[in-house]
């Protein structure tokens, strides 16, 4: 465009003309309000295309998808929108577009402001605090459903509940969800289902415009939800708008179906859980039984039960040994004593045989001595006597008599050696050689004195 002034007089090429127009248009940023007449928002497109009109004109618009998403507005035909942008040209078709920078719903501004203010107020009151959020009952037996009895939402919810958890009883409060009466009706419905025993309340409706959803931004409803004795699940199909009800509810689901899914477990999951519990219990009990069996088997395998003989083995052996020793002890001692006695017997017998022998020998000896002595006892005396006898014999004065002499004795026994010795008349005994004569003295003759020669010898 650098050469534009000098080339003004010369006819421009189409492209140059378009570039010139584009430059002129794109410098003009305007804010306008219009009603949406056509909308083409498709996934995959880089931009959202729509048309705004008023009674006199219509204007094609495009908005880059990222910007459109950021606006938070969902375009619908008939919507009154306020937008800021600039005109631009699509050169290949020679079409003018309004390139929208920002978009908001015109006429809703006040409502949004009100809602945001209420949200802020309730937040400050703590109604949205995460710690207030209650957990849903794992297996609700009674589910309160507060929604419109008409339309897809109630059936979506019932179908989902039937599919996932037919065991639950549903108490339904079919109430209007749009219009001025809706908040009060919703509150009445909630009370009705809670009174009917609901353990969880599903507060749902299908999608709608921001204005349609206004009952769910009601402050009284919000307080009712926050004070509801049972958990509340919202399923208000109006992404990306978030209602006050969503904010104070215990669980917020994006759709009625999602709310139903959040409220009940899946029967299949529960069956699986039950099956797992069944298997687990059986396994545990079997394991315990096996453990006990092993314990019992271990005891059975212990030596005392395997071979109970060991219980008494030591005692039995000790007893056998003692028996054996006892067996031997006493006979041995009797035998020993008997042997000693036998030796005493032998010694006594031996001694018995010789007991008197020494004495006998002694007496025999003495006997022999006595015998010999006896034989000689008289001998000495006898010899003595014999000697004396022979000597006496030799000396016998009577030998004289043998030669014829006689020996006369008077009656006194005296030798008559004198006539005086034998007076006449006395008797004398005259010893002759071979005897004695008795003689009487008849006479006496006195001899002359004769000498007796032997007297002098």
């Amino acid at each position: 465009m650098e050469g534009a002034p000098e080339e003004a007089k010369r006819p421009l090429t189409v492209s140059q003309a378009m570039a010139l127009a584009k430059g002129a248009l794109e410098n003009c940023v305007v804010t306008l309000v219009g009603e949406v007449s056509e909308v083409s928002v498709k996934p995959g497109y880089k931009a959202a295309y729509f048309t705004v009109k008023d009674t006199g004109a219509s204007m094609p618009c495009m908005m880059w998808t990222n910007r459109y998403r950021a606006s938070g507005v969902q375009l619908r035909v008939g919507m009154l929108v306020q937008m800021t942008g600039r005109f631009t040209l699509y050169a290949p078709k020679g079409r003018m577009n309004f390139d929208v920078f920002s978009l908001s719903m015109a006429g809703e501004g006040d409502l949004r402001k009100q809602v945001a203010d209420l949200a802020e107020k309730l937040r400050k009151q703590g109604l949205m605090a995460p710690e207030r959020k209650r957990a849903l009952p794992a297996v609700p037996h009674t589910i309160g459903l507060v929604t419109s009895p008409r339309g897809a939402a109630v059936h979506d919810v019932l179908r989902t509940l039937r599919r996932r958890w037919p065991a639950a009883r549903v108490v339904l409060a079919g109430v209007p969800v749009e219009g001025k009466v809706a908040p009060g009706a919703l509150m009445t419905g909630m009370k009705a289902v809670v009174d009917a025993g609901a353990e969880v309340v599903l507060l749902v409706r299908g999608g709608g415009s921001f204005e349609d959803l206004m009952p769910f931004n009601d402050e009284r409803l919000a307080i009712t939800i926050s004070r509801c004795p049972v958990p509340v699940v919202t399923g208000i199909g109006h992404e990306p708008d978030t209602s006050i009800a969503d904010m104070v509810a215990d669980v917020r689901a994006s759709t009625p179906t999602a709310a139903a899914e959040a409220a009940v477990p899946s029967a299949a999951d529960v069956r699986a859980q039950l099956a797992a519990a069944s298997d687990r219990m059986a396994a545990l009990v079997r394991a315990q039984l096996r453990t006990h069996e092993r314990e019992v088997d271990a005891v059975v395998g212990r030596p005392v039960f395997k071979d109970p003989a060991i219980l008494f083995a030591t005692d039995a052996q000790t007893l056998d040994i003692l028996g054996d020793r006892l067996h031997r002890a006493i006979p041995a001692s009797v035998e020993r004593d008997r042997a000693v006695l036998a030796s005493y017997g032998t010694r006594l017998a031996t001694r018995g045989r010789t007991l008197t022998r020494a004495f006998c020998m002694k007496t025999d000896e003495e006997g022999r001595v006595l015998l010999s002595r006896g034989a000689a006892l008289v001998e000495g005396y006898d010899a003595q006597w014999k000697l004396a006898a022979s000597r006496l014999n030799d000396l016998s004065p009577l030998a004289v008599i043998g030669r014829g002499y006689a020996l006369a004795r008077n009656d006194e026994g005296r030798i008559v050696s004198s006539i005086a010795d034998a007076p006449v008349g006395s008797r004398i005994a005259v010893r002759v050689a071979d005897g004695t004569l008795s003689a009487d003295v008849v006479a006496a003759t006195h001899d002359e004195q004769t000498e007796i020669p032997w007297k002098e010898a």
């Binding site: 109630v154 549903v170 339904l172």
Partner: protein
């Protein structure tokens, strides 16, 4: 047997959730591996009864809808086999 003072509630008097919780408790107790054989057996028996009862309830379940307010509009696409509607 340690828990005899606490008589077991008849299963029919238990809610599904209570029965489920008791079953969970039984499994946990069995897992603790500290029970007497007799208690384990009793627990197992109770557990089996609970299991069967729970399964039975699941099998027999039929959705009941009590309409407390308003009039439910029938949806032609739903098969109404499992749903009993009660008008309040």
């Amino acid at each position: 047997m340690e828990d005899t003072q606490k008589e077991a509630t008849p299963i029919e008097e238990l809610t599904f959730r209570q029965a489920m919780a008791e079953l969970d408790g039984i499994v946990a107790k069995l897992e603790s591996n500290t029970m007497e054989l007799e208690d384990s057996l009793a627990a197992y028996e109770r557990g089996v009864a609970l299991l069967r009862a729970l399964r039975g309830r699941l099998d027999d379940a039929q959705q009941k809808v009590d309409v407390l307010m308003g009039e439910l509009e029938q949806d032609a696409s739903d098969e109404e086999i499992d749903t009993t509607l009660h008008k309040a």
